[in-house]
């Protein structure tokens, strides 16, 4: 059944009684029924005379009465609304303001009863309710009758219609349990039809793209067919890759806590994955479908962090290495997890754990610890790869065979060449080339005539994860090598030296991102250059204008005659220029691996990439110092990182369009950073850095005088989660040689009772277009828009309430706490969004065991204290606070508001859910002013009535069926169009789309057809011409008569 089509409205029971029109409106949305019964004084009855000459007037009057009934409303009207998704019948009576909610599941039946009063028979609809009364001793049910339409006394025929519709619903609902819940899901999605903005099916992929990733690969092997590669990654993802294309065939995201400590292929071909955590889980996956083959929990007595695992035909071995003593082995049934046997063995050569790493045991493909005293294949590379001369030792079943020492770090031993010999693969990165040397492990002779060399950046260290050979195992040239590099990329290399594909898995752990406008094309740049230099005289300007217009004409001619050859502006791709609507942007992405990417936002293609070596990416920050709007200067971004060894700050400054940049070691540890709100002579925003000894630095250093001129209005705050202290600094004492930060205020959030969880300021680029909100009585409620407001979230532990969530709104300039709120028994995950004059945050309510979303809105009141610019130092009146909370039936992973160029478009909140959906939630739903009882003023204001549970309609899921696991953040950026906001969702996957919260009001509709319109115009023109001719002919004829 098509549910969309079942939304219909029917009107029946028009009756005229004593000049009163009785109207029964029945509205059914899906399975829900709304009936409205109204009596209105009929305005149109006077004009309903049968005479014809008043027909025109009648028409207008009818229209007028229609309008009247819309605006004035019926005199008395009463309605009943059954919305099954909300489990209730909702009885509204306009005249008396009475709303009563009846839980749907309590309703036993519905009747029409008759009563005689004052010699008249009155009819009434009555709902029979089964009410559970909880007494002190036992609970019993009682039956109650609730009459509907008490005040309006509808006629029997109307009542019958209402009765039929509700009764039909009741009958349907009392069907099977599954059926009932089926309706539920559909209705909840259908109910809020008015505000959902959704996609048409043919728009899929038109302005969105989705890239799948698996994360930093830890383990890999090829399956039996040689077509699939199974990988396990640091993000606890198990996936199968198509070895031909590198695409993901299937993917499972395992539990977040814990880490995958082992993966191997079993004799049956399944991928065995061991997830270490509180409890160690052993799972095996079918390599073709990804279905679970078996799952069991390892005994908790096993010290999992020191165990090495190995697999044989139907057994799993857990080898516990004891330094210098030997090892203890436990043998499990691989399918059930039952312990088969345990033994201990002495192996004095096990010097320390570091030497015999997991990787080495992982090599033991064939004969792991099989016999009691003799270990199978063990390979020892000395102490990891750092030692120049490493030794390969192979213990076979019969005898100990020692490989010859090899000069450089060897990486892999394969013994699949018909079991006779062991092949050793060595990797050498030299002169931007990767050399692979294949040699026989025992004899040491090189197996190939010439070493294979592949072009390779010398900064990347290859690490061989697996060798995948097809069915022909003897021929080494058919083997493929799966390499993992230090930039988290995965490369599949044919043994002949051909790179089959590369997956940039660094993009699975994005830390920071920005969207940059593209530079204007050369043509536009030439026009802009004309206005740049103002010192030229009038004549000079005129001459330049002539030249540029001649150039434009030339370009126009070229483009008209198709002579326009695509020339590349300064070595870039030709299409990377700004478009008319500012929709085409460069997405700059900084990843956890220290790799920077520039992505084209139209298709997600990597335009440039840059690996920054020896850096720590925790607390990484990305700044846009100069946008592309300052034409002669290129755009500039900066990335603040830490050095891997010294932990001192490193600033990497780069051009976001080309990726070219330079690194600068700052020599101190930055505590807090800030972009100056003003541009310097080169249109660059300098970065102000506060180091750990509270000294202030500025990058570039020349901007110090500029900063000094603004120093009196510069403030900074630092929040330290360890001590719970939030401190404010002023720069007012700075001199032109040195910037000085002086402490102004300090707020201490007692660390023993609460911990700082999150500090969220406002986006400095955001704009608030409307100053206030127009109320129902046409007065304005002014917003409290404080750009210095910071939301501080702390999580406290309390002996009685266990978890206490505190939200403080702090003025970062004056240190005043503007507002604070505390939620008892509320715990993480906490996500907070802070823009305009509102704060929205989600938390998990322990008490009710559900995710709740709370919103706080701040208003100044009916008068505005400072209409110009806001000042935190002039004591503003305490804002009025509106607050409300709602139930969100999902688990939240990330939240972000949409942002547009001028802030005129209404804001939506994008919520990334644990189910992989990204929900576009209109602010209207989160409005704290949503009233429980609807007053006419509220209705006038356009506030929707309060509903405790927010719906999650599938239409407002912006990523439709493309589930995004492990969402870690959402980035929104304005486009050149006011209506459109660009969205990048990152996490394990990247998903880009654009949203239009108030619909695309500044764009022509997609189905706008200029052809049709011009055809209609031409047609009308022709018709008028011909009729004119015809009319003149007729006039002529009549004149002749």
């Amino acid at each position: 059944m098509d549910e969309a089509a079942s939304c219909r409205e029917s009107e029946s029971c028009h009756e005229n009684v004593n000049g009163h029109k009785i109207l029964l409106r029945l509205k059914s949305i899906g399975k829900s029924v709304c009936s409205e019964y109204s009596i209105e004084k009929d305005l149109s009855s006077i004009v309903l005379s049968p005479t014809v000459h008043v027909l025109v007037a009648n028409l207008f009057l009818l229209l007028l009465s229609f309008l009247c009934s819309f605006t004035v409303g019926a005199l008395i009207s009463s309605g009943v609304c059954c919305i099954i998704s909300y489990n209730m019948i909702w009885d509204i009576r306009k005249g008396h303001h009475r709303t009563c909610f009846i839980p749907w599941n309590c309703i036993k039946d519905i009747y029409i009863v008759e009563a005689i009063s004052l010699h008249r028979v009155l009819y009434n609809i009555v709902v029979l309710i089964e009410d559970e009364v909880k007494g002190s001793t036992s609970s019993h049910t009682s039956l109650k009758l609730i009459p509907l339409f008490q005040g309006t006394k509808p006629r029997l025929s109307c009542l019958e219609t209402i009765y039929q519709s509700i009764h039909a619903l009741l009958r349907n609902e009392s069907g099977t349990c599954g059926e009932r819940s089926k309706n539920m899901s559909i209705d909840s999605s259908k109910f809020i039809l008015t505000v959902s903005h959704c996609l048409y099916e043919d728009q899929v992929g038109k302005f969105d793209w989705h890239q799948n990733y698996v994360g930093d690969v830890k383990f890999a092997f090829g399956d039996a067919s040689g077509k699939r590669g199974i990988v396990a990654t640091a993000l606890n993802v198990v996936a199968a890759l198509n070895l031909k294309t590198g695409n993901i065939l299937w993917r499972h995201v395992l539990e977040r806590d814990g880490s995958i400590s082992f993966m191997s292929i079993t004799s049956g071909g399944e991928a065995l994955v061991i997830l270490e955590g509180d409890k160690t889980l052993v799972r095996a996956f079918d390599p073709v479908t990804g279905a679970l083959s078996w799952e069991w929990t390892a005994p908790s007595s096993l010290p999992v962090d020191r165990v090495s695992w190995a697999v044989s035909t139907d057994k799993l071995y857990a080898v516990l290495l004891n330094d210098g003593v030997g090892f203890a082995v436990q043998q499990f049934n691989i399918r059930t997890g039952a312990v088969i046997s345990k033994w201990q063995s002495s192996a004095p050569w096990v010097q320390n754990e570091r030497q015999v790493s997991n990787k080495l045991l992982f090599c033991s493909i064939l004969y792991p610890v099989k016999s009691l005293d003799k270990p199978g294949v063990f390979v020892d590379f000395g102490s990891s790869n750092t030692v120049k001369s490493s030794q390969v030792v192979i213990f076979s079943e019969q005898s100990n065979v020692a490989c010859k020492a090899v000069s450089s770090s060897a990486q892999w031993v394969i013994n699949d060449l018909s079991q006779k010999s062991y092949v050793l693969l060595q990797f050498l990165v030299k002169n931007d080339e990767l050399h692979i040397i294949t040699s026989d492990c025992l004899s040491g002779t090189t197996l190939q005539n010439s070493p294979i060399s592949v072009p390779w950046p010398s900064s990347l260290e290859p690490e061989l994860k697996t060798v995948i050979c097809g069915s022909n195992k003897d021929d080494l040239s058919s083997c493929r090598l799966l390499l993992h590099t230090s930039d988290e990329a995965v490369t599949l290399l044919q043994h002949t030296g051909k790179v089959l594909w590369v997956r940039e898995e660094a993009l699975a752990s994005v830390v920071a991102t920005e969207m940059m406008d593209l530079p204007v094309s050369d043509k536009d740049a030439a026009i802009e250059k004309e206005f740049d230099s103002k010192e030229a005289g009038v004549l000079g300007m005129f001459g330049r204008r002539l030249v540029s217009q001649a150039l434009q004409l030339q370009h126009l001619m070229q483009s008209v005659f198709g002579l326009d050859e695509p020339h590349q502006p300064s070595g870039q791709r030709a299409d990377l220029v700004r478009d008319d609507f500012g929709l085409h942007k460069m997405i700059v992405v900084a990843t956890k691996a220290g790799k920077l990417f520039g992505l084209d936002n139209f298709n997600g293609e990597i335009v440039w990439q840059k690996m920054i070596l020896n850096v720590d990416t925790t607390a990484l920050q990305l700044f846009v110092q100069r946008t592309t709007r300052h034409a002669p200067y290129p755009a500039q971004c900066s990335l603040l990182l830490k050095d891997k060894v010294t932990k001192e700050s490193v600033l990497y400054t780069f051009n976001p369009i080309t990726g070219l940049g330079s690194r600068k070691n700052l020599g101190y540890r930055a505590l807090q950073t800030m972009l100056l709100p003003v541009l310097d002579a080169e249109s660059l925003r300098p970065i102000v850095l506060l180091d750990s000894s509270e000294k202030v630095h500025i990058e570039p250093r020349e901007a110090i005088s500029l900063a000094d001129s603004f120093a009196s209005s510069l403030y900074m705050y630092v929040a330290d989660p360890a001590t719970g202290i939030v401190r404010g600094y002023t720069f007012a004492q700075s001199t032109s040689e040195r910037l000085i930060a002086a402490r102004v205020w300090e707020v201490v959030f007692q660390p023993e009772s609460q911990t700082l969880v999150n500090v969220v300021g406002k986006n400095p680029q955001e704009r608030v277009h409307s100053q206030g909100r127009v109320l129902g009585d046409r007065s304005v409620l002014y917003k409290y828009v404080n750009p210095n407001l910071v939301a501080v979230v702390t999580q406290g532990t309390d002996s009685l309430h266990k978890f206490v969530l505190n939200v403080y709104l702090l003025d970062a300039v004056s240190g005043a706490i503007v507002f604070s709120i505390s939620h008892k028994r509320a715990r993480e995950p906490i996500h907070l969004v802070h823009t305009e004059n509102w704060v929205v945050y989600t938390y998990f309510s322990e008490k009710w065991r559900r995710t709740e979303i709370a919103s706080i809105e701040l208003y100044e009141g009916k008068t505005q204290s400072n209409s110009g610019s806001f000042s935190s130092l002039i004591a503003a009146p305490q804002p009025l606070v509106e607050r409300q909370s709602y139930i969100l039936p999902a688990v939240v992973q990330a939240m972000k508001p949409t942002v547009t160029e001028k802030g005129i478009t209404s804001r939506h909140v994008l919520v990334g859910l644990a189910s992989g959906a990204v929900l576009e939630l209109p602010w209207m739903f989160l409005d704290p002013r949503r009233p429980v009882t609807v007053t006419p003023e509220m209705r006038e204001e356009g506030v929707i009535p309060y509903m405790p549970e927010l719906p999650i309609p599938p239409e407002s899921i912006i990523n439709y069926n493309k589930s995004l696991p492990l969402i870690s953040g959402i980035h929104t950026a304005p486009s050149g169009l006011e209506s459109t906001s660009l969205v990048l969702v990152y996490g394990l996957d990247l998903f880009y789309t654009r949203v239009a919260p108030s619909k695309t009001f500044d764009l022509l509709k997609e189905d706008f057809d200029p052809f049709l319109i011009s055809m209609v115009l031409i047609g009308l023109g022709l018709a008028s011409y011909t009729t004119k001719r015809l009319a003149s002919r007729k006039a002529l004829k009549q004149a002749w008569k």
């Binding site: 599954g178 048409y200 990804g290 266990k802 688990v891 189910s915 599938p954």
Partner: protein, 221 residues
């Protein structure tokens, strides 16, 4: 009555205290249990991606169950508590179920009701989860319909005056209606005096003249 209230409130407080105490007693190394169930796939052939795209999440991914070939699942190592089990599939919607494990390891499944959290609407355990419907992510494009076209304001604006211009004169030509109209006109003539006449008479002030005029007219007739 008051005494009863007092006792009741004291009891309530006692229960609360007991509850909080009981919650604090949870040890880190407690017993763990297993939640079992089966997901019924939608009708029709199962695609290969069904097993990897269908995820069973307890409390939004705190614990994870993975489908077996026979569409059954287990969620291992779950300590006692309350869990919302949901089946996540990009194409099909499933109803979530709340599973409660008490400290003795007894499992109970009930419907998720976030608004009235205390209502118990039991569901069979082991869980049997059936698809509710297909997710409808997309809006249906409006089809071109003749009625829509006709009722669009532009067309109405064009057609209605046309009707008035074309049909009204035709109707007026009908002799019967004309007669009726004349009749009506004659009726209304006396009811509603002509506005201009009233005004002129009012401003000129001479009612006698007018009366004379009418008399003159009568004479002429």
């Amino acid at each position: 009555m008051q005494l009863y209230h007092l006792v009741y409130s004291v009891l309530n407080i006692l229960i609360l205290v007991c509850l909080t105490l009981a919650q604090r007693d949870i040890e880190p190394n407690q017993d763990v249990y297993t939640i079992e169930g089966r997901v019924f796939p939608p009708d029709g052939p199962i695609s290969n991606s069904w097993y990897s795209q269908t995820r069973i999440l307890a409390n939004g991914g705190e614990f994870i169950g993975i489908l077996r070939k026979d569409n059954s699942f287990v969620i291992n190592n779950v300590p006692s508590g309350s869990y919302v089990i949901e089946v996540v599939n990009p194409t099909y919607a499933y109803e979530p179920v709340r599973v409660e494990i008490n400290s003795k390891g007894k499992l109970r499944a009930r419907k998720v009701n976030y608004i009235q959290t205390s209502t118990v609407d039991p569901v069979a355990y082991p869980l049997a989860l059936t698809p509710l419907a297909r997710h409808r992510y997309f809006q249906v494009r409006e089809q071109w319909r003749a009625t829509d076209f006709l009722y669009s304001p532009m067309v109405l604006m064009m057609v209605l005056p046309l009707v008035i211009i074309m049909i009204l004169p035709k109707v007026m030509n009908d002799p019967e209606t004309r007669k009726e109209m004349e009749h009506l006109n004659s009726l209304t003539r006396y009811d509603m005096p002509e506005m201009s006449e009233v005004l002129t008479s009012f401003f000129t002030g001479g009612e006698k003249q007018k009366v004379k005029a009418t008399r003159n007219k009568k004479k002429i007739q």
